[in-house]
Symmetry: C2
Subunit: 394 residues, 2 copies
């Protein structure tokens, strides 16, 4: 298994420390498993203290032995009871914490209140934005892992023709494709940030199901197989002459590649074909425009304008309940920064990784494209290679 | 798809209201998707206000149209911006909220702070315990759904003999079994309560991998395929004469059935065979003892004593990092109440549903049993039927 090298962890921690110093935060206490994997190189249950200056301390609840083997950090100790936390920090010389950084976007309130008590008198600062900023720009190590995730997706999309047949249900297709992913090394879980966001591999949706919005912040949703998890493939049988949109997320060594292709058994109406071509043109424009320094919201507006000019504006990024973005950061989680959305003024930087997904959602079905890209000097480089036109099967 | 009947929602809401009144809480604001599914019959993104007396109000962020179709509640309105929440409650006549109940165990701190601002001056009360108490005892409707989940598991366990062969990897076996689950209608996601608990179907572990603890609070853990999600099946090839423990969670219409069986190609050493028999004896004792009124911790202690008396005590419920329980509530989530653990003084009640999992984890592999049971007048009734001895394959 691929471990995160010590130098990589140091680079990430140093980047966060610089931001902590700028904000006058004495140290960050990290508990979220995605942030933990990023800064400590292990996803075991632990508390990671990163001081604004000095060496981080990883205090592990479970499994201590495994976290020790996986993490390249130097100081790793077991933590039996979270109430011992401040005492342990004191023993390591971290005594005067007057401003403590916490991941307030994901940290449960009960734990927040406990930390407030343990670090009595300390000001608590939300550092989730700082963490998300550091995680936005990928290192060459991360890009290498992301390329592996994209290769996993190539394997998946290459196999769709073997399973997609008239009359099978979306669920039958999804179940078999998920197996392809697993046998190729997909770890199963696709992570999203936030307590109210979750996904299972992605969406396999045919015809009218493509137009069904869900709880997920995504242009497509779909019925799912139960109201308890109302998204993704359902029991609808796949017919000829309707679009089958497959939006799947490959995961390799903790990094995600988000990709969508449209398949069809038979023929599609001209309107859907033209809308798909428009999506490809929008993608091309975004690829050119998305150079370092370009503002996310400018790219978003340009895409919206192109969609409106095409005449299909009202179907862009959703039908009855459209989503207010055309792309999103991708890395350890599916909803990283930056977001290509109105109000997101962040300028792009080299080596940010974003999924761009111009899609048109008609009541009769969804078309469009999604790829995961890395921002380069001259625009976007595609990580997720595969035929981008509508893929017709017999 | 199975919808939750109106009478069922009323029963659940009334049960919570009784507890809110006892604790002098004016109303509960529910946001967690599992609690939402339980009290509103929809898992879409929403805020559900349950007053201590009167009718609940469901305010839906996304998808409003679907939540309206799914939920049998009477008052369902769209909520575009969470900041409008108090105004909307006011319009519905809920004006004087001096004590507000929130799910502090799962609610992110940022949202907690926002609610504190919106409900200025109100005392905030943690109602996660009240909610978990209500959810502990299942209705006949819920038991019917749970029986369906158990049937899904019967299908799964019946098919293992078709896929388990010498030389395939744990991951290959897991990937194919997950497909069996999906084609039979498994929704994919297995829910757990809490920000630091997650699982993917369960654990397929052979030989020594059975002894590898993970971040998960479970007697087994396993390597997984990446350090980013360090549990479950790994790349180890399955050999003859070692135990293959399959601990899988079926999900049907939002309800879970948790079940473990041990398979073996060839023969197992006497020690493992005897330990498995001991696990069955412990299960039998627990089944008899777990009548309404019995205390969870007494059952736990009895199981521990039996394990110690068998001579295999040091391997009970984990090898290097054992877990401090022998069973746990099961319903919409895998870690519901009650817990059969020291310090858990709750008396059992009729129609509680618990998974009991006496397991012995030796360095060379894991044996033991797990079933999901419903508490009846005379003890536990098994929902998850399947051959309980070690299942030998050729």
């Amino acid at each position: 298994m691929r471990l995160t090298p010590a130098g990589e962890l140091t680079r990430r921690i140093t980047a966060l420390q610089k931001l902590l110093q700028q904000k006058n935060v004495d140290g960050a206490l990290i508990v979220d498993s995605s942030d933990m994997f990023y800064f400590a190189g292990t996803a075991h249950r632990a508390h990671l203290f990163i001081p604004a200056e000095g060496k981080p301390l990883l205090m592990v609840k479970r499994s201590f032995t495994r976290a020790q083997r996986e993490s390249a950090l130097e100081d790793i100790i077991p933590l039996v009871n979270v109430k011992d936390l401040t005492r342990m920090l004191n023993e390591y010389g971290y005594t005067n914490i007057t401003a403590l950084g916490l991941e307030l976007d994901v940290l449960p309130a009960a734990l927040y209140l406990l930390f407030q008590e343990l670090f009595e008198g300390a000001q608590i600062v939300d550092i989730s934005g700082l963490i998300r900023s550091v995680r936005m720009v990928k290192s060459s190590f991360e890009l290498e892992v992301l390329r592996d995730a994209a290769r996993l997706n190539y394997t998946l999309f290459s196999r769709i023709k073997d399973y997609l047949k008239e009359g099978i249900t979306e669920l039958e297709l999804a179940g078999q494709l998920e197996m392809v992913y697993r046998l190729a090394g997909h770890s199963g879980r696709v992570k999203m940030r936030g307590f109210d966001q979750e996904v299972y591999y992605g969406h396999v949706l045919s015809g009218t199901n493509g137009a069904m919005p869900s709880c997920m912040e995504s242009p497509t949703g779909g019925p799912g197989v139960s109201i308890a998890f109302p998204q993704g493939a359902g029991y609808k049988k796949i017919s000829v002459n309707e679009p089958v949109m497959i939006d799947f997320v490959g995961v390799k060594d903790g990094y995600l590649a988000d990709q969508t292709r449209v398949f069809c058994i038979g023929q599609l109406p001209d309107k859907l074909v033209r809308a798909h071509e428009t999506a490809l043109l929008i993608q091309e424009a975004v690829k050119q425009m998305a150079v370092p320094g370009a503002l996310c919201e400018d790219i978003y507006r340009h895409a919206i304008n192109m969609a409106v000019e095409s005449g299909y504006g009202e179907y862009f990024m959703g039908c009855s309940e459209p989503v207010p973005f055309i792309g999103h950061g991708v890395g350890i989680e599916l909803n990283e920064w930056p977001v290509l959305a109105a109000g997101f003024k962040t300028p792009l930087e080299k080596d940010m990784v974003i999924a761009v997904e111009p899609k048109f959602i008609f009541p009769e079905g969804a078309v469009g494209i999604e790829n995961t890209f890395v921002v380069g000097e001259k625009g976007l480089e595609t990580l997720t290679l595969f035929n981008e036109t509508i893929i017709y099967l017999k």
